[in-house]
Amino acid sequence: MRTLTYREAVREALIEEMERDERVFLMGEEVAEYDGAYKISQGMLDKFGPRRVIDTPISECGFAGLGVGAAMAGLRPVVEFMTFSFSLVAFDQIVNNAPNMLTMSGGQFHVPMVFRGPNGPVHALGATHSHATEPFYANVPGLKVCAPGTVRDAKGLLKTAIRDDNPVIVLESEALYNTSGEIEDADTDLTVPLGEAAVLREGDDVTLVTYSQTIPLVLETADKIKAELGVSPEVIDLRSIRPLDADTVCKSIAKTNRLVIVEQNRPFCGIGAQLTYAVQRDAFDELDAPVTRVAQQDVPMPYNEKLEDAVLPSEQRILDAVKEVCYL
């Protein structure tokens, strides 16, 4: 084992998969000469050359669509969005072209490719630059969506996504790029399966489900919950959004009988809404309290940081939610 940053883990996954498979290439804005807007692809132009690490003009719709076409013609593109807020100008390619091709062609054309980049609100970027896009994409059959929240998953899920024969959205997190964590040595071919949640911390009294950039907040709050409320929380990282692993959550509820979902996206038709449906269906008898969600407030993101803080999940809101489901 060794320690890497999330950023290094993403880069390692890209490098390993490009070394392993000549069909894989990386395309996006500022990925080559600038080393990536967030320095994910640092050094990769030197390593692989401009044939495989490709700078584009600001044309998301164009190069996302190029990716779909190239995938139909047998390549395995990795398309980087500088952030997923900018993927919205390529929405048609991601939502209409990539996932529908296999069905429309009667099984002739599959689209093995990855759309990746940072996703979710960061800090003081305002309404257009703060989107958590997972509910948009998770709504679409034919797409797979994951949101790695740990260093190990940042590498393992991306490698799996690149090898998958379907279009996979890999939602990274700018807020996590600098975090470090333990990971297997470089020579282990680390892959993490899509569609499997992970229990990050075991507990008995309440299940806290989260993913991506709210994981650090939830883990810190979990300590407080134990210390201040005397409640033992179990923390689950969804890791994949579609397919969604409700089984792992339901198993946990069988033990804790209570569920709080902490998510970075908006509440209406959000990921927690879908998970809540699955839980009431499969674990109805196990629940001792209604499921509670801590999501963004249901507003466009304000720039002012105090207002932004009030919109985003916070320690206080998680504590309140835990008290609510534990009737404290």
Binding site: E29, D55, S59, Y303, A310
Partner: protein
């Protein structure tokens, strides 16, 4: 709303005053942004902050050639556009600080300066997403039978978006009264223009839409003003779009977090020799319209105002939490 005619001032004193006004406007933009940069480094300003320093002649020159009630819309590098329209430094600095007294009530930030009263339809942060809005402004003016022109500013990187192309086609098809001003500062983030297009001259894009087009030295405020005046006069009279490429240069990085290692210091220094403010100052001095002392005074006044705007922003309140949900949906009082 008073409207200023865009025709050249008639008397020599009026002409001189108009020139000095342009100079003061550029000095204000520069002073404001130098302060903003300092405040950003002190952690008073959040998010992304893109400075217009070096490019001032484009806004100052074009605004000097249009009416106060013409419509304006631009991208996220928008401080100069608001200031040039007359939004106060206080309201602009307060917006950067996220305060309730800001021009967007602290909800928009650096990339989203709006001022409805001054027909400033915003800074917009998704590259090129505002170009269709720009033609919508022109459409509304034409629809109502007004002789307003819409000024739509965007960077050299924006012309590679689908939104740009679709808007250009519609503008030409429907002969909408819009002046597209491409602020070609040589780079889109770290991408030099020649790495994003095979075209030598960006304004030649107009050809594909059968749209009139031209280029102007965007470091020369008089050249910008005169070219815009000519073009806008025709747009106002005959309703059509025009694509003007203003060749300019940004001295700072793309945003405050960009070290700009993709260009040489020598390149930046060479461009700074054509600084729009010093060039214009020297012209005015040699023509006897300005003295050294007057220039220093004007510069001092602008810097003073910028410093005061920091105090104003510092002392202003945050937007109240109780208003968090007030702007998600329009209500009758927003009319």
């Amino acid at each position: 709303m008073s409207t200023r005619a865009e025709s050249p001032p008639s008397t020599p004193t009026q002409a001189a005053e108009a020139e000095l006004k342009i100079l003061r406007s550029m000095l204000e933009m520069r002073a404001f942004e130098e302060r903003a940069a300092q405040q950003y480094q002190m952690g008073k300003i959040g998010g992304f902050c893109h400075l217009y320093i070096g490019q001032e002649a484009v806004v100052a020159g074009s605004f000097a050639a249009v009416r106060d009630d013409d419509y304006v819309i631009t991208a996220y590098r928008d401080h100069a556009h608001a200031l040039g329209r007359g939004t106060s430094m206080n309201a602009c600095m307060a917006e950067l600080f996220g305060k309730a007294t800001g021009c967007s009530k602290g909800l928009g930030g650096s990339m989203h300066f709006f001022d409805k009263e001054r027909f400033m339809f915003g800074g917009h942060a998704i590259v090129a997403a505002h170009i269709p809005l720009g033609i919508g402004l022109a459409f509304a003016a034409k629809y109502r039978g007004e002789d307003r022109v819409a000024l739509c500013y965007f960077g050299d990187g924006a012309i590679h978006q689908g939104a740009y192309h679709e808007a250009f086609n519609l503008a030409s098809l429907w002969q909408l009264p819009v002046l597209f001003i491409c602020e070609n500062n040589g780079y889109a983030m770290g991408t030099a223009v020649h790495r994003s297009t095979a075209l030598e001259e960006l304004h030649h894009r107009g050809r594909g839409y059968d749209m009139s087009h031209s280029a102007v030295d965007g470091m020369d405020v008089r050249a910008v003003r005169d070219q815009v005046r000519n073009v806008v006069e025709d747009i106002r009279a005959n309703s059509h779009p025009h694509f003007l490429e203003a060749r300019t240069y940004r001295y700072r990085g793309h945003s405050m977090s960009d070290p700009a290692t993709y260009r040489t210091k020598q390149e930046v220094d060479t461009k700074k020799e054509q600084d729009p403010i010093t060039t214009f100052r020297d012209q005015l001095i040699s023509e006897g319209l300005l003295s050294d002392e007057q220039f220093t005074q004007a510069q001092k006044a602008a810097r003073q105002e910028a410093a005061e705007s920091v105090t104003f922003a510092d002392q202003s309140p945050d937007p109240p939490l109780s208003e968090l949900h007030d702007y998600t949906y329009a209500r009758p009082e927003h009319e």
